[in-house]
């Protein structure tokens, strides 16, 4: 059986920074835009080596989205960088009209998503962004789980034509996907199981893996699937798993409304009704605190996934 361990921890935003720098070397059309958060987004290396393709926008996110949309006309591939809150909620209509509806090849790269942003508190901890972005027709939404996958997703985005939202975070986090392939839209079955399907994205994939170990010790055989692409959703992978296990759990660092849980619920209720439990923030705002404290307080830990899995299995009977 597959065992996942880690020897190193890194922030997912550094995976983005490394991927972007790599893209700068690979593709002359890649341009990067940032709204006064170059260090936080780890865009310094790109800025240093490709200064003529780096655009400091200032604290003006709406302007940044418009400029990015305009830059696609003539063939540039813009990657915008700011916090997830200011990448989505702040500029929703600019994205909707100038990027999504106009089908522009802009890559919206968003750091510091979710409660693991920590001490800055609820004003910055967006938990609604996956929902907002997946509602937009034609928008690809990717939520990678560790440094490697964030780097891989950044690299994959350049070949993917069309608007995309890439969501990552601030804290140092286990790296455990070293040898796994990454394809946009293709779910990654990390651990096979037969009793319950656990679908996770972002930081919570690691918690799902930890939960699997606990469940396994109690004789419960969980299947762990990394849904790194929320849209387009890998419907066949979800159905194949739940047709086997007959129950499911979703795990995400997001509101219970609008995110991965709702996406999976829609698939199940339409094609294969089965009990579903959701591990997510239960319709509340976050607060200041350390990432570990907040993940615990808001019910996003491995224990919460274990409890949800047991409940899903029980409801099946």
């Amino acid at each position: 059986m597959t065992k996942f361990t880690f020897t190193e921890k890194k922030d997912t935003r550094s995976g983005f920074g490394a991927g972007l720098h790599e893209l700068g070397k690979q593709n002359e059309n890649v341009v990067a835009l940032c709204a006064d958060l170059t260090g936080s987004l780890k865009m310094d290396a790109f800025k240093k080596d490709f200064p003529e393709r780096f655009f400091q926008i200032g604290i003006a996110e709406a302007n940044m989205m418009g400029i990015a949309a305009g830059m696609t006309i003539g063939g540039k591939i813009p990657f915008t960088g700011t916090f997830a809150n200011f990448s989505t909620g702040r500029v929703y209509d600019q994205i909707r009209q100038s990027i999504a509806y106009s089908n522009k090849n802009v890559k919206i790269c968003a750091s510091h998503a979710g409660v693991t942003l920590g001490e800055d508190g609820a004003t910055h901890q967006i938990l609604e962004d996956i929902g907002m972005m997946r509602m937009l027709p034609g928008m690809t939404v990717i939520v990678p789980c560790d440094y490697n996958q964030t780097k891989a997703a950044t690299l994959a985005l350049v070949k993917h034509v069309g608007p995309a939202y890439l969501r990552f975070g601030r804290p140092s986090w286990p790296i455990f996907t070293s040898d796994r392939p990454f394809t946009i839209g293709k779910a990654d079955k990390m651990i096979e199981g037969k009793d319950v399907s656990i679908f996770a994205c972002g930081h919570l994939v690691w918690h799902a893996i930890e939960a699997e170990e606990i469940l396994s010790a109690q004789g419960i055989n969980a299947e762990i699937i990394n849904i790194h692409t929320i849209k387009p959703l890998d419907v066949p992978a979800i159905l194949e798993s739940v047709q086997k296990t007959k129950c499911a759990v979703t795990c995400e660092e997001h509101q219970i409304n609008g995110g991965l849980g709702d996406s999976v619920a829609q698939v199940l209720s339409r094609f294969f009704p089965a009990p579903l439990e959701m591990v997510a923030v239960n319709d509340s705002f976050g607060e200041s605190g350390s990432p570990t404290q907040l993940l615990k307080k808001y019910g996003l830990g491995p224990d919460n996934i274990v409890a949800a899995a047991k409940k899903a299995i029980q409801r099946r009977k």
Binding site: D36, D120, A122, H124, S288
Partner: protein
């Protein structure tokens, strides 16, 4: 509290609040010391001289002057000032940015901290809120004033200029806005990131009365704010361009964007506190 200010006492307060700021940010190893230290005189002048306010907090604040902080990241100076003004116990400053605290990283109403009337942290929104509150004061026939502070980097947000256009058009003349004109933002000096060019001319051309003054001399700040107050009620909103030094009072922080949002380590804390005498008493 108006009329003859006791400058000796106000300076003691400013030094104590600076100690509070550095200790708060050090304790949680996060937060924004630079802008907080630069705006300390402004907060002392407001809460200990200018504002008519009641530390028995009431959200509607009818019959009181209201203050809004648009650049919410400088919450440490606001929290310390509120505590030193009696809004809550100074001991609560130890909870800054900790879990289950009312002292959120950025100001919030969600946990009901006395003194806060709106959440801020996402930049560019405070001036609009202040204008709304000022218009409500007029509708309520309440003659007290509304104050708001913004950052200079924050001027890059488009919403600021929507508000800038609206207030003079609507004769919102019970409003005194101030910009912390320290010339710094996160990625570097404002002039290097996205220049504001002639900020005074910009605000004047939008129809505001504009004053400029030095923000790190308490005498100057009080004189300027008293003057600004005398300019209210004349059909135009008032804007203060307040020249400050980021990190003022701690030599190694002064004038550098590097201290916008970084906490001092133990050694740096000691160095900072050596420069800031304990005057009123630490929390």
């Amino acid at each position: 509290m108006s009329n003859q200010p006791d400058f000796v006492q106000l300076k003691k307060l400013a030094t104590q609040i600076r100690r509070d700021i550095v200790r708060m940010v050090h304790a949680c190893q996060s937060g924004h010391p630079g802008g907080s230290l630069g705006c300390t005189e402004y907060f002392v002048a407001l809460y200990f001289h200018l504002l008519k306010h009641n530390s028995k907090f009431n959200m509607d604040g009818q019959g009181e002057d209201l203050f809004f902080l648009s650049n919410g990241h400088i919450s440490p100076v606001w929290y310390a000032t509120l505590a030193r003004s009696g809004y809550f116990d100074v001991k609560e400053l130890t909870t800054f940015r900790q879990i289950n605290s009312r002292l959120q990283g950025h100001p919030a109403t969600h946990e009901h901290l006395p003194g806060i009337r709106i959440a801020s942290g996402s930049l560019g929104q405070g001036l609009s809120v202040a204008i709304g509150a000022a218009q409500t004061k007029k509708l309520n026939k309440d003659n007290q004033l509304v104050f708001v502070l913004m950052g200079d980097g924050e001027q890059q947000e488009g919403q600021v200029w929507e508000a800038a256009m609206y207030a003079p058009h609507n004769k919102v003349d019970n409003l005194i806005a101030t910009i912390d004109y320290n010339g710094q933002q996160i990625d570097g000096p404002v002039d290097k990131i996205l220049s504001l060019l002639d900020l005074k001319a910009k605000w004047e051309s939008f129809g505001w009365i504009v004053n400029e003054f030095e923000g790190n001399k308490i005498e100057e700040v009080i004189k300027a704010l008293d003057h600004a107050k005398s300019l209210t009620g004349k059909g135009k909103p008032v804007m203060n361009l307040m020249k400050t030094v980021m990190g003022f009072g701690v030599d190694y922080m002064m004038g550098s964007h590097k201290w916008h949002g970084v906490a001092p380590n133990d050694e740096e804390l000691k160095k900072a506190l050596d420069q800031l005498e304990e005057t009123i008493g630490d929390y």
